[in-house]
Symmetry: C2
Subunit: 324 residues, 2 copies
């Protein structure tokens, strides 16, 4: 068995072997550039761990796993155009380094490349693999659409938010695990359990990420604290606070998010105070734990290789450790 | 057997049955909008004709055929962003009616939808169908990339141009025919012959389109004559003229395409005169005929249903009739 770290090394080694830079260079060079930026390779790693969980050597299903990484990086490439992001992983984004047309078209080619890699599996697995992948890929687009809409919509509920992050983030983690399970001949029931493990871990992780954006420690979180508050981002914290707040708290909170405020630090401090008064920080932690426990429970119900299960459990717990 | 017109009616009827407009609306409404604009549905029609050529009822393979139309419309949607086109089929383009982000993301979803339809075929056909489709789809992206690059490149040869149009236009026609053949259990050899028929017809058609842009009749061509000359578009005519021209002709031609000229009609007339003097209009017609003859020859070598062959031959000849 390869552990998480060894699996990650395998993914990076195999990715390095592939030459994406063929003619026309302007179409394919951005693909190589994007994939060379690194990252944790979580999606292919999860796919390969799931394959191992059901007794398959990771090397045997490396191409679909790489396809998931290529697809994920395609979504980043197109999202960066839509968000007008200038930097990704300390390097200029593709539409800044090249231009928007190149980023659109290279992204399109990258999505087709992802399909080619995903489909590089045994013929007998192809129908299930491709059905799963197309469903997941469409879900990711829907998640991105909801995320963009939420910026201007005024009627977003906590449930809407959970649905959005389940599509934008969690579904691809869940789908990566399920793909590994399908490729390793797991039963439908077990493939669904590992999918649910991924979905719940994904939700817990995204809630944690939002929590840390407000209540985290700048040194360990890695980016500036309070960004979501400044941007009035409709996170679990804000949406729950808007639902729970009454009278003066509600008036204050609405004032902070609707009126332009120059003093960013003051805004962060005051909104945080309201969150704490309303205990939405605790609500968020409770919700995270709920998803985390659900994930661990699903994993426990799977009759797979126990060492791999332990490895996946450690991985989940490490993902959730940043909070304490 | 359904003839071309009946096949086109089938495609339109089946396309109408599908409800693309699900939640989130802003993601899926542009897909419905794009597909409702009409068009000749050439790609699915060719796919279904090829299926009939090898004895398959078109209704049995309607979904992959519709997938080809969805894919083609996806390429138009993203191309319109890249070309900053405002109008398509007399209606505002998606990025004008909505916005660029919507057009990028809806296009992505549309490409995934295309994959879903393409993969809606018998499991036994899936490996060949999906391999063909991904190859063709990547080719179309390469064609669009070359087309964009040619605008600024100064070293484009006639061969480069033929390669570009083979990817941008002809490969999807060829691939649509081959897909129908594969779905109808044609032999590898016959699937390749119908592919070559499509490739050659596609090349002949694109050459004709470029010819008519300069030498056509405005009433029958449907758009303003001389657009390519005004835009200095590197077509077969211009590239061949640049290759053949000597001394004064060469100096004049280079002057027309490198110096800004306000009198568009004069530029069109003078460049046309140079083309005619160099006989590149005849070269273009000869090249078209060469491809057309090659296409008919490939079709003749196929041992398929004779009525369908006749129908495909009529279709090819109608495509090429606008010139006389």
């Amino acid at each position: 068995m390869l552990n998480i770290k060894e699996t990650q090394q395998l993914v990076n080694a195999e990715l390095k072997k592939i030459n994406f830079t063929t003619e026309p260079l302007a179409l394919y060079a951005p693909i190589e550039y994007t994939l060379a930026q690194g990252g944790k390779r979580i999606r292919p790693v999860l796919c390969l761990m799931a394959a191992q969980l059901f007794g398959h050597a990771p090397q045997k299903v490396i191409y679909p796993a790489l396809g998931l990484e290529i697809f994920h990086n395609f979504t980043l490439l197109h999202d960066d155009i839509m968000d007008n992001a200038e930097v990704r992983r300390n390097n200029p984004t593709v539409h800044k380094k090249w231009d928007t047309n190149t980023a659109i078209l290279s992204g399109d080619a990258m999505m087709i490349k992802a399909h080619q890699f995903i489909c590089n599996c045994e013929d007998s697995k192809l129908p299930k693999v491709i059905t799963l992948f197309n469903e997941v890929a469409l879900g990711v687009c829907e998640g991105q659409q909801y995320d963009m809409e939420f910026e201007t919509r005024k009627d977003v509920s906590v449930e809407d938010y959970i649905k959005m992050i389940s599509l934008k983030t969690a579904i691809l983690l869940a789908g990566s695990l399920k793909m590994g399970a399908i490729l390793a001949n797991a039963s439908e029931e077990e493939a669904d359990l590992i999918y649910q493990f991924g979905m719940n871990i994904g939700l817990a992780f995204q809630l944690q990420d939002d929590y840390l954006d407000t209540f985290g420690n700048q040194d360990t979180f890695g980016k500036k604290i309070g960004g979501d508050i400044i941007a009035n981002k409709k996170t679990f914290l804000l949406l729950t606070a808007l639902k729970k707040a009454e009278k003066e708290d509600k008036r204050n909170l609405i004032n902070w998010i609707t009126v332009e405020h120059d003093n960013h630090n003051l805004k962060i401090e005051e909104v945080k105070k309201i969150y704490q008064k309303l205990a939405v920080d605790t609500d968020s932690k409770n919700k995270m734990n709920e998803y985390y426990e659900k994930a661990i429970q699903c994993l426990g119900e799977i009759k797979g290789n126990e060492s791999v299960k332990k490895e996946l459990k450690n991985f989940a717990s490490q993902l959730m450790q940043r909070i304490n």
